[in-house]
């Protein structure tokens, strides 16, 4: 048996990533996800003024700062049950949607799709079409994606002044109201993105796209000129021809924190979402209510001061304990939901929310690299629809408050959490304030869930499981690993505390 250990590094992800793989006869039998960087954000926040979290936590991640800001502000609001006016929730949702559009399009067409332009595939019947569409800096869809995502984030700049890294959500609301000028400008951006998505990405009107009822209906559309020759259609046909709809399912259990706070019913203590939150039990095949108290993090295989089992983030600690020559291999903690290893992201979001087409494809074929990518592009339709509704609601309530300044201006001591569905999945902030300063801050990012290392029981994380069984033809150019890992939309800077082992990882025999 030919046994090979290698560390693969992957570009075109947000942040840098190395993966330790053990191959036997060219097939992955063990995988370890290894981050390569440690900055210590949670320690940097300690002792600072509570509102400073609104400035510092967006800077954890350049691609999802709006989601961090949203989680931070709702965590602070949770402490004092601060009232938030509906228009503030609408503006927050709108900006989160704009950031999501940016992410979903860039991830799909700048990061995931170029793998199909690998010379490996030069003889495939679809190759030339993919070069024309997705070749970096040259392909038509690639260039259009650069232009359209530039437009999409203008929406954040209208309310937050800039994207990325602004701090326009404040306890009690947002810093700037909607007016007819900003609404018209945002409608213009959305109309352009929507038209492009209909014509170029899915090849049909949004209503028709959202109305596709099931897997059978979708697969029939794939053979028709409209969707078949669209950008998603091209990707779907090639990815499925390569078998990506049957590989890299990872773990069956999923969590979603629910998408977009319901402006009329959400409060910092009544968590009502427009697309519901939930835990999808992959064994039972049903969705159960989400209970954040079940979230806990293990450090058994991480370079932190050891503790037994898992700890809820409010009891969490981030105390480095570098042990390079042990079976600990990463700075990432291992989050678990109860004792379950879960995946999160657009697939989890749409399965939990019950999008009929995504649910049907999931039932028919199971979780896969292709389905995760499909769900990311599918979610754009929901984002566009929700953005339209949100602008209509803002237009109908132009005189409404955009901020209710908390009484006394300051924040009381206490504990709070903020959960948000970021582009990559569930993002949570847990904060404790003592004597008017931050005394504890724990961030559990989507990539922490998905790229989790092994836990106290030795259970591998979702990515680690998704890689087992993948055949790698050329270890110097492991495009198969690229397809799988990029389908997870990895954000390595988002894992907050990650560090490379600095060595190859070997395991038995």
């Amino acid at each position: 048996m030919a046994r090979l250990e290698l560390n693969v590094d992957l570009n075109r992800v947000e942040g840098d990533l190395e993966i330790g793989l053990v191959l036997e006869d060219g097939v992955v039998v063990e995988a370890r996800t290894i981050g390569t960087m440690y900055r210590g954000f949670e320690q940097i926040l300690l002792g600072r003024a509570p509102l400073d979290a609104l400035v510092l936590t967006p800077r954890v991640c350049g691609i999802c700062g709006t989601a961090h800001l949203f989680a931070a502000v709702t965590a602070l609001e949770h402490i004092a049950a601060t009232p938030v006016p509906p228009n503030a929730t609408r503006i927050r949702n709108l900006c989160l949607i704009a950031e999501g559009l940016q992410n979903d399009l860039r991830q799909t067409f700048l990061f995931f799709a170029p793998d199909f332009c690998n010379p490996r595939y030069a003889a495939e019947p679809w190759f030339e079409d993919h070069i024309r569409a997705f070749e970096p800096f040259a392909g038509a869809i690639y260039r259009e994606t650069l232009a359209m995502t530039r437009r999409a984030v203008e929406i954040v700049a209208h309310f937050g002044g800039q994207w990325p890294h602004s701090s326009y959500m404040t306890p009690g609301g947002v810093t700037r109201p909607a007016d007819i000028r900003r609404l018209a400008a945002c409608r213009t951006v959305l109309a352009e993105v929507r038209r492009w998505y209909e014509e170029r990405i899915v090849g049909m009107p949004l209503d028709a796209w959202l109305a596709i009822p099931d897997a059978e209906g979708y697969l029939a559309r794939l053979e028709e000129p409209g969707h078949g020759s669209s950008a998603l259609g091209l990707l779907a046909r090639s990815a499925r021809a390569l078998g990506l709809h049957r590989t890299a399912g990872g773990v069956a259990d999923m969590i979603s924190y629910g998408s977009w706070c319901d402006p009329m019913h959400w409060t910092p203590t009544a968590d009502v979402r427009i697309l519901p939150s939930g835990f999808y039990d992959g064994t039972a095949g049903r969705v159960e209510p989400l209970d954040q108290s079940l979230i806990n993090e293990h450090v058994r295989h991480s370079w932190f001061r050891p503790y037994e089992g898992g700890r809820h983030p409010w009891k969490g600690e981030t105390i480095p304990n570098y042990q390079p020559h042990s079976d600990r291999y990463t700075w990432a903690k291992a989050p678990r939901y109860g004792d379950r290893v879960v995946q999160t992201g657009p697939l989890a979001e749409l399965v939990v929310a019950g999008d009929p087409l995504t649910v049907s494809l999931h039932r028919a074929e199971g979780s896969s690299a292709w389905l995760r990518q499909f769900a990311r592009v599918r979610r754009i339709a929901f984002e566009l629809e929700q953005a339209r509704v949100t602008l209509d609601e803002l237009a109908a309530d132009l005189g409404g408050e955009h901020v209710l300044t908390p009484a006394g201006g300051g924040l009381p001591d206490g504990e709070g959490h903020g959960l948000v569905m970021a582009a990559r999945g569930g993002l949570g902030h847990w904060v404790r304030i003592e004597n008017g300063a931050i005394a504890g801050y724990q961030i559990v990012t989507p990539t922490s869930w998905n790229a989790s290392p092994r836990d106290s029981e030795g259970r591998p994380g979702h990515w680690e499981q998704s890689l087992v069984g993948i055949a790698v033809r050329d270890p110097d150019d492991p495009v198969e690993i690229g397809h799988v890992i990029r389908s997870h939309d990895p954000c390595l800077v988002c894992t907050v505390h990650m560090l490379d082992t600095g060595r190859r990882i070997g395991f038995g025999p």
């Binding site: 560390n7 693969v8 590094d9 570009n11 075109r12 942040g15 840098d16 390569t36 960087m37 440690y38 900055r39 210590g40 320690q43 940097i44 600072r48 003024a49 509102l51 400073d52 400035v55 510092l56 954890v60 350049g62 700062g65 860039r106 700048l110 990061f111 793998d115 690998n118 800096f137 650069l146 995502t149 530039r150 203008e154 700049a157 209208h158 309310f159 937050g160 002044g161 800039q162 990325p164 890294h165 602004s166 701090s167 326009y168 404040t170 947002v174 810093t175 007016d179 570098y322 955009h402 901020v403 300044t405 150019d477 492991p478 800077v493 560090l499 490379d500 082992t501 060595r503 190859r504």
Partner: protein
């Protein structure tokens, strides 16, 4: 053609995402129209990992000329000066930066982290982060103060958190064209760091008459109470609007002074330290007694429409 290699160190990716928002020129236009040949960018390149290693080795060996090296992120030196808290295949990235920089025509620090240490270097600095040629506003970076790149330049500090998109693309356009680049006292290209964020702020009439907000979400000036650093911070944010449409101060978010070497400053970022009623830090170059006299007169002269905060911003 000018070759460009982009490297991320202790980064959040903010400069990479911000530069994709640039329009005049855009990042892709640097490649198609401004003579830049992109050797590598971690988020955008599509060569295989093996080919990337070869490119890097060929640069270090001198067989591929490197004209511009962009570094995004702080230089992580922990633990104990080894830099292994930020590594690439077991090598400290700090060392990779060092060997590439020796070959580069010019080294550009993209963002405050690479220039001065930035957020990772704040507070307890858990990763022992430093900038390329500075730690905050003093020597102590990866390279000593007298270090010069092949073209005879110190590290060019294109600071910001993130850096303004056009400050990045227009600096790169100038470097690719071989234009002379005048630098300020902390090695920032003067063309982008010789105007204050305050200039062009739509809240200026409120500032002028000393009509100040005490809570976020209002229309008035944020300098006296809400920690706004606009009058002390050099950047083009209110001159060349972000994403073509806005700036933080226009949107009611105080300027946090993110292009400055001490960003993020200690103390509450949404509060202004004061001596009596007047901010401890005054606009660049202003004398306190005269400023107080001017503000008292200005407040007295404020028209009702400003005093009552009825003017939109």
């Amino acid at each position: 053609m000018a070759t460009l290699y982009w490297m991320q160190t202790g980064a959040c990716g903010g400069e990479t995402l911000a530069i994709l928002g640039a329009q005049s020129p855009s990042f892709e236009m640097l490649v198609s129209d401004f003579g830049i040949e992109l050797l590598w960018h971690p988020s955008l390149s599509h060569v295989s990992p093996r080919r990337h290693e070869e490119i890097r080795h060929e640069i270090v060996a001198g067989s591929i000329p490197l004209d511009i090296l962009c570094v995004e992120g702080s230089i992580v030196t922990a633990p104990r000066g080894t830099g292994l808290y930020d590594s690439h295949h077991g090598r400290a990235r700090m060392e990779i930066v060092r060997e590439l920089a020796e070959r580069a025509g010019v080294v550009v620090a993209m963002g405050t982290c690479a220039a001065f240490g930035g957020v990772p270097a704040s507070g307890p600095n858990p990763s022992d982060s430093i900038g390329l040629q500075f730690l905050h506003d003093a020597p102590g970076g990866l390279f000593p103060p007298d270090w010069r790149s092949r073209r005879g330049l110190p590290v060019v500090n294109v600071s910001g958190c993130p850096t303004h998109p056009h400050t990045m693309t227009q600096t790169l356009a100038a470097l690719a064209a071989g234009s002379p680049l005048e630098l300020d006292a902390i090695n920032r290209p003067k063309a982008f760091f010789n105007t204050l964020v305050h200039q062009g702020c739509t809240r200026n009439e409120y500032h002028e008459y000393d009509v100040e907000d005490g809570a976020l979400g209002g229309r008035a000036c944020m300098f006296f109470n809400l920690g706004c650093q606009g009058p002390m911070t050099q950047a083009v944010c209110n001159d060349d609007l972000w994403n073509g449409v806005g700036s933080k101060t226009r949107a009611g978010v105080p300027c946090f002074g993110c292009t400055a070497p001490n960003f993020p400053r200690e103390g509450d970022l949404f509060a202004t330290d004061k001596i009596g009623d007047v901010p401890h830090r005054l606009p660049a170059g202003v004398e306190r007694a005269r400023y107080m006299a001017y503000k008292n007169l200005a407040r007295a002269a404020a028209p009702e429409r400003v005093k009552n905060k009825t003017m939109d911003v």
